[in-house]
Amino acid sequence: MSSPALEIKDLHAGYGDAKILRGVTLSLPPRSLVALVGANGAGKTTLLRTISGLLKKSGGAIALGGETIDGLPPHRVVEAGFVQSPEGKQLFHGMSILENLMVGAHTERARARRKETLEEVFELFPILAERQHKPASALSGGQQQMVAVGRALMALPRVLALDEPSLGLAPIMVDRLFEAISKIRERDLAILVIEQNVFQVLEMADYGYVLENGKVSMQGSGQELLANDHLRETYLGL
């Protein structure tokens, strides 16, 4: 049996005295799409920042493909294969789309394949190819989100995390984004998606986790979670 693409055990982290994550345990099998949902402020973004090495954990363990990434600085985490498209896109606004994507291909492994990967990203989001020389700040919110996802793909992730990719997008753009995510699934990687569109993401996910107060409160296959009364009440308002 191969080891999980991403495995988090009893993770604790926070900001100064504020303990945000209090023992998160979750696992992504290879080539799976896993959803992480939870109310605002539950700690989802904090979890990704901790995996990325931007935030020091105070306890627990993180492993990628069976190898620990504990204590690695952020750029080494990317080298190890975990790449996220951060909440709020965080583009380089003074740069063109193409440059934003190129920055994504920073590691040696990614640089060696960056021409091919760029073509794949342009195939996924043709509009980016058309506007590649436009400054990132001149794009619509949806297109900026495509750049953010594309930039993460440029790093050739083994585990790709998307932090609220549909945040602030028009419904039609949300649909397109989810389409793109299902296409990304065909690649050899595992995907962790954080979403407010709980219904849509659980529909497509292999497995889902619900984060509440810094802990996983529920987990199960997408269908199981969608059938759960507590979840339907809290997150779907049904």
Partner: protein, 294 residues
């Protein structure tokens, strides 16, 4: 006012201003990328002037040739100062809030240490470097032009252009710009941010290595020479637009020409005070500086 004297003053101001701009480049780059105001900037220039002076006085090395040693030496010094002294502070702050004040205090401490160490090691004497050859003034349109200063000003323009070009086109240059624009996003793209910071600091100081060598041919060198250049660099950088490389050269020229012309009418001290007034005036109308984006 005699037209000849005025054109002479303007020419001199242009040259001196270009050199101010060149000296300020490193300060601007470091601020643009690290958001740290390096209060010790002038002290690094002072050190670099001494490097060229001692290489000349002990080994008889030509001051222009000494740039070949001065630039890498200053680069390594800047790299080490960032990696060993400033970086731990930034690391501590990254988890909490970024406080520019503590970085400023730290670099002010470096300034005090460097200036006093230079005073202890080299004494208060004012030194001067003499080239083994005579460098005559050039006549440009009937105006005599000091060739040492001309070399300095031309070098400033070349370095500014080369630096902008390199930042735009090279892999490392792009990483530096990405880090300047969004430190966390750069890190999440695989960029080694502490390394980029150290390289940037090194480049900022390496440029001073060049100007220390060029300026040693016409500047009286003493342990306290740094502060006035540090303050002038700060004015130039704010005036030109924080972090803007062309703004740096333009800001330098504005200050240089103003000082040179004003000192034809009033004493040099009043001219320097006048340039501060000009500085405030320009910022009232363009708060982000001449080339800055508000």
């Amino acid at each position: 006012m005699d037209f000849f004297i005025l054109s002479f003053a303007v020419t001199n101001g242009l040259l001196l201003g270009g050199i101010y701009g060149g000296v300020a480049l490193g300060l601007s780059l470091i601020f643009g990328v690290l958001r740290v105001v390096n209060f010790a900037h002038g002290s690094f220039l002072m050190l670099s002037l001494y490097i060229s002076f001692w290489l000349w006085s002990i080994f008889g090395l030509d001051p222009y040739l000494s740039a070949l040693i001065n630039i890498p030496a200053m680069f390594m010094l800047g790299f080490a100062v960032q990696a060993l002294i400033i970086s731990p502070l930034i690391k501590r702050e990254s988890a909490l809030v970024v406080e520019p004040l503590s970085a400023l205090l730290l670099t002010a401490g470096i300034f005090l240490v460097l200036d006093n160490a230079a005073l202890m090691a080299f004494g208060p004497d004012v030194r001067a470097v003499q080239t083994s050859y005579y460098m005559p003034s050039l006549m440009l349109g009937g105006i005599p032009v000091n060739s040492q200063r001309l070399i300095g000003a031309v070098a400033a323009v070349i370095v500014a252009a080369a630096l902008s070009w390199w930042l735009r086109t090279s892999h490392l240059g792009r990483s530096i710009r990405a880090t300047a624009q969004n430190r966390d996003a750069a890190a999440m793209s695989g960029i080694n941010v502490p390394f980029v910071y150290a390289v940037t600091f090194g480049i900022g100081c390496g440029i001073l290595g060049l100007f220390g060598a060029l300026m040693s041919t016409f500047i009286p060198i003493s342990p306290s020479i740094g502060l006035s250049f540090g303050i002038k660099s700060f004015i130039v950088v704010v005036l030109g637009g924080l972090g803007s490389i062309p703004g740096c050269i333009i800001g330098g020229i504005v200050i240089g020409v103003f000082e040179a012309v004003a000192s034809q009418f009033v004493t040099a001290t009043s001219a320097a005070i006048g340039s501060l007034a000009l500085f405030v005036l320009i910022l009232i109308f363009r708060p982000a500086g001449i080339m800055g984006r508000a």
